[in-house]
């Protein structure tokens, strides 16, 4: 109980909790100080997905936004576009580099985050919340099983750094 309260207030301090009556998600800090949230699934290319009933929300992780630097431009596809697991659906541009963003799941895009058009930096400030990128109607929810949970993703980040 105490741990959950601590996590919740820490989550609030880092502005990663969401609005509404939902409890702040539990999270862990990897050794490399990027935030990884429990309850989300992750791809090895640093995207996260949150499956809520019939819709899955997708974005890039705290680790990803940190390694990109400040974002200045986000290119997103149109609503109605089909995406496939592991394939690029759009890209983000930081001051110096344009990087593809891959979809962790297949399905049809039902919503894109219009706020990113003018404020790409939302992704840096709030990668798991205000900086969400697309919402997808999953065509094959079992694909989520192939993704990493928060522990495995944290390990993955740590391994990538161990060069």
């Amino acid at each position: 109980m105490a741990l959950r309260l601590w996590a919740s207030s820490a989550a609030n301090a880092l502005k990663i909790s969401s609005s509404g009556a939902r409890a702040a998600p539990a999270y862990s800090i990897s050794r490399y100080f990027s935030t990884v949230l429990d309850g989300l699934k992750y791809s090895s290319s640093h995207e996260w997905v949150k499956h809520d009933g019939s819709v899955a929300t997708v974005g890039i992780t705290d680790h990803a936004q940190d390694s990109l630097g400040e974002l200045v431009y986000v290119e997103l596809p149109n609503v109605g576009t089909q995406v496939s697991q592991g394939e690029a659906f759009g890209n983000v541009e930081s001051v110096k580099a344009t990087s593809d963003v891959n979809s962790p799941i297949s399905g049809e895009i039902v919503e894109v985050n219009a706020a990113l058009k003018d404020t790409a930096v939302l992704i840096n400030k709030s990668p798991y919340d205000d900086g969400w990128m697309i919402k997808v109607k999953p065509s094959n929810p079992s694909e989520l099983d192939a993704l990493l949970d928060s522990d495995k993703y944290t390990k993955h980040c740590e391994e990538e750094h161990a060069h």
């Binding site: 390694s67 580099a97 344009t98 593809d100």
Partner: protein, 241 residues
Amino acid sequence: MSGGARRVLEAWKLGLVRYGDALRLQERLVADRRASRVSDLVLSLQHPPTYTLGKRRTDHNLLLPEVELRGLGAEIHRTERGGDVTFHGPRQAVLYPILSLRTIGLGARRYVEGLESAMIEVAALYGVKARPGAAGETGVWVGDRKIGAIGVRISSGFTCHGLAFNIDPDLGYFKHIVPCGIADKEVTSLRREAAVELPPDEAIHDQLVQSLARTFFFSDVEVKDESECADMVCLSAATQS
């Protein structure tokens, strides 16, 4: 870093290559790199006069109509790289590293910082004190004058496009654009900034490659020269017509 493991960077010296041909070659090589058909490599080349725009299509930073720019003998290309408008031409060293970021253990920002530091290191060989751009500014600067530009694309952790370092290009071409979208700043070259005589361009290309290799912890550079690479470039050009 794993001790003692040999990590080789291949350097492909291509000479003068048209922008479109280099683009197609990079596309093939990124696919090859993804499939592990090639190892980490860097293309080292120069372009004929060419203006390029990045993904954001900042056409407003072209100060002359396209037809007039073509009249000056330049090509114009719209690309998928990051960054704003720039000019490439003879006597400008262009390097396109095709690397796996996962293998070198870097994210996008630190990769770009590595490209900047390679250019800064080479400038220093000629007594020129260069620095990375201020916040929000890309590239490499000497005082308020830009000597090197960067525009990178990353797909699933593989890099393409890269850097352009002004050895002694015709700086007049830069007058017709707002370079990298940064107004009121001059463009300069190693020739202008250095008090010493410069060696042939090839030597400077080699120094940039060596500096890149060091920056990204490669232990060796293996050079493939024009004769070995020419058929690769032609193959890319031929399959695209």
